[in-house]
Amino acid sequence: MKGFLKNSLKGVIFVVGLSVLIAISSLAIIPRNNREEDWKHDVQAHGILAEPENTIDVLFLGDSEVYSSINPLRIWQNYGYTSYCCSSSKQRLWYTIEFFFMTLSSQQPKIVFMETNNIFKFFPLEETMLHAADLPIPLIKYHDRWKNYNFEELFRTPDYTHIENRKGYRLYKESDPADVEGYMEEDEDSAYISLTNMTYIKIIADTCRENGAKLVFLSTPSTKNWNMKKHNRIVQLSEELGADYIDMNLLLEEVPIDWNKDTRDMGDHMNYFGAEKVTAYLGKYLSETGILTNHKDDPEYAGWNRCLKTFTDDVDKWLSTLKADEAG
């Protein structure tokens, strides 16, 4: 028994020592900036780190559906609300939750939108386990940075300088018509959400409640990804969690998607024109909640106006050439 206690104590000390070692290495290896070369990937979503503290009021989380269809600058233009798309291609919920907590470290969003497409995306336990370490043990996530590690970084604190001018939105100009056969056909069944995904959603919902943020589930229009089964399940889920739910796939009048023109890849994602319609509805929805402030004339938010100006200049130029092409 004495030997057992002694060995257990040794084990505990060993683990503590290892934790210290890992913590120190983590501090040494975490990226000092949010540029492409520091993060390597999903730089558009990580741009939120460079936004001034507590300036983002609305957060959009999700996969490619989000950055294809929601344009924060238009919301700013029309209502003066600040929002950001923390979305990345094929984002799974383990990544969603990472962006969520990352945002909370410097922002206090009043409304959090979860796009519903990735709620039904399955991923194995192995991935959950690997990424559970991403936030508490950054060493695991960024270990590969040894390849171009600069020892000057060692004594610098992180300073995020890369601002995303489009706030996570990605502009898609092309269009490719969708086949709407069977889209949103009546169905009594509801789809299945895996236990792992449920856990992530509940953590996000609880954290929203604790931080006084309103959680909204949002299904953006997509003929390929959305159906009634999934809709039914999210209706149940939003009731369970007391969250709002917007399914744009059923809002045929409010969000009048023209499936011949508004999708870039046969119904999978929106293009610019689809995004305009989705964003217009969202802006209206946000203003109706009455909990957001219009920062349009606040000098601290002057950056947003500059971003908007650059964006509209670009887009207007493109639209006018498009018109000219059509005319001539």
């Binding site: 020592g17 890992i22 194995p124 336990l125 996530k141």
Partner: protein, 544 residues
């Protein structure tokens, strides 16, 4: 529904690797804690339950095949046992003169039972593993003969580890037949022997006499075993995650589009593949041995620093040892021990002398062994070629040896001098690399194409460009692979010289001991090829 959907769907491969987080941080700790917590009498059942759950997680309902295999050999064992008991009883009643005849009768009855059992299990293995291959070749043949028939290629299920546990099953039943072991009276013990979870995926192939009793006599975890075992797992993990997995994208790129490379680069690919295979397989074996060691179980080693071998024949005594021994015990000696073969050997020895005499019978047996070895690795012609290549190498080696020693005597050189030894080691490694080139290539024809290009166009032109741009391997990758390989080499060299590195570490004070652990862990975390940008690589021998 939920549990299985989390653990099973899409993630089956996660559990087959002993270096997956799911296995290392969930499954194994759960087993260890339960195992340590229950009283001694219950420990074996924890091992058994863990093994069955593991197999179910990896293979789902195919666990039925494993269980049926166990049941079958159990019953065959009982049957043989019954005959043996009858024989004993009868023999004691019979007069001395008639005993021999009576014994012969019983032995022949036993032989029939054994034959039935072996045919059943090997037959099932052949059907499940090779029917696709056979129909494919039959189709080619029919096509050549202009026959207007095309057979459908069957897609049969393949329980993981079937190639490994079938061999264990056959060895068990054969050993019972020979009276080397008693038929097991407890089916649970036999199940544990057949299904022990660390070894079910990639071996080692154990014999009943080696592990069954150890497993059934499961003891409390000892502190020393725990630390030794963990250390070995870490060492294996380093081999697999730092070296093998880092080499994987490059090997894949070269073998996927070999037409775009010069021969020198194909050679480099074959060398890297050989390193990858060795690190992957022996690293996994280190994990298997380490896990078993924690439970206090000593398994037969599968590797003994094979790249120090001075001949191909020696190489195969040190690479995948348990497979080699299996073939030797259950194919090579039985074939050479048949009456006919013994006569052949006796006659040949009189005519050809001591060295070449046994080569006649030995050659036949060797052919059987290597044909089976090739086939065991996979159902394709390049695997069969791989086996026969080694057969030719070993046979040639044996024929040339006396000539070589005569030559050395004449010239007055010492064949045991170290420079010649180093030369032989490098030569052996080169032969192995060529074998692995065929082993890795998609099909035998492609293997010859690659080999042809390697010989005719041996140039490294454009290597730099290819490495950096096409294979996305940079200088840092090479440095880290080189450093780690150097470390593994030093450890191997010390072991080869008879220094037990692990005992040496254990003798040092706690600061050094812990520093070794910490260094290994941090090295793996930082320099492992995992996470963003890496595709997890399944253990390579799990598919054989």
């Amino acid at each position: 529904m939920d549990l299985s959907s989390i653990l099973l769907a899409g993630s089956a491969s996660a559990m087959t690797s002993f270096f997956s987080l799911t296995f290392l941080f969930l499954f194994l700790p759960a087993c260890l804690i339960l195992y340590a917590a229950v009283p001694k009498a219950a420990k074996k059942y924890i091992l058994l339950a863990a093994s069955l759950i593991f197999f179910w997680l990896v293979s789902g309902f195919l666990i039925i095949y494993l269980l049926l295999t166990v049941l079958s050999v159990f019953l065959f064992g009982k049957w043989l046992d019954k005959i043996q008991k009858q024989m004993k009883a009868e023999l004691s009643k019979t007069e001395k003169e008639k005993r021999k005849e009576l014994k012969q009768q019983y032995v022949s009855r036993q032989r029939k039972v054994l034959l039935l059992a072996v045919l059943l299990h090997i037959g099932l293995l052949l059907v499940l593993k090779y029917s696709g291959f056979f129909t494919q070749n039959l189709n080619s043949l029919l096509w050549l003969l202009n026959a207007p028939i095309e057979l459908e290629i069957p897609r049969l299920f393949m329980p993981i580890g079937i190639s490994f546990f079938t061999l264990q099953a056959v060895s068990y039943i054969t050993d019972v037949y020979h009276g080397l072991i008693k038929a097991d009276t407890n089916i649970l013990r036999l199940t544990l022997f057949m299904s022990f979870f660390p070894q079910i995926v990639e071996g080692p192939i154990c014999r009943y006499s080696q592990t069954a009793d150890q497993l059934w006599n499961a003891e409390q975890i000892k502190y020393k075993n725990l630390t030794y075992g963990l250390q070995r797992i870490l060492f294996g993990m380093m081999k697999k995650i730092v070296i093998a997995d880092r080499l994987d994208p490059m090997v894949k790129a070269i073998f996927d589009t070999p037409n775009s490379y010069h021969g020198g680069i194909i050679f480099l690919g074959a060398v890297c593949y050989t390193i990858q295979l060795y690190m992957d397989f022996s690293g996994s074996m280190d994990a298997v041995m380490g896990i078993a060691e924690i439970f206090g179980i000593k398994m037969p080693e599968n590797f003994q620093r094979p790249f120090f071998s001075i001949s191909i024949s020696e190489f195969w005594k040190r690479w995948h040892i348990t497979l080699g021994t299996w073939f030797k015990d259950y194919i090579f000696y039985p074939v050479t021990s048949t009456k006919k073969m013994k006569n052949v050997t006796s006659n040949a020895r009189k005519k050809l002398g001591n060295h070449y005499g046994p080569l006649v019978a030995g050659g036949v047996a060797l052919f059987c062994v290597w044909f089976c070895n090739g086939l065991w690795h996979g159902s394709d012609w390049n695997y069969i070629f791989f086996g026969l290549y080694h057969f030719v190498m070993i046979l040639t080696g044996n024929m040339v040896t006396p000539l070589a020693s005569k030559f050395f005597k004449k010239v007055g050189l010492d064949p045991n001098c170290s420079s010649y030894k180093v030369f032989r080691i490098i030569r052996t490694a080169l032969f192995v690399v060529i074998g692995e080139l065929f082993f890795r290539s998609p099909g035998m024809v492609r293997g010859f194409e690659l080999f042809g290009r390697m010989v005719s166009d041996f140039s490294f032109m454009g290597l730099n460009d290819i490495l950096l741009k096409k294979l996305s391997i940079d200088i840092q990758d090479f440095i880290i692979i080189a450093v780690t390989l150097a470390f593994v080499f030093i450890v191997s060299l010390l072991n080869e010289k008879g220094v037990c590195v692990r005992d040496q570490i254990a003798k040092r004070n706690i600061v050094i001991r812990w520093a070794v652990f910490y260094a290994l862990i941090m090295f793996i975390i930082i320099f492992g090829a995992y996470g963003f940008g890496y595709i997890p690589v399944d253990p390579m021998y799990a598919n054989f």
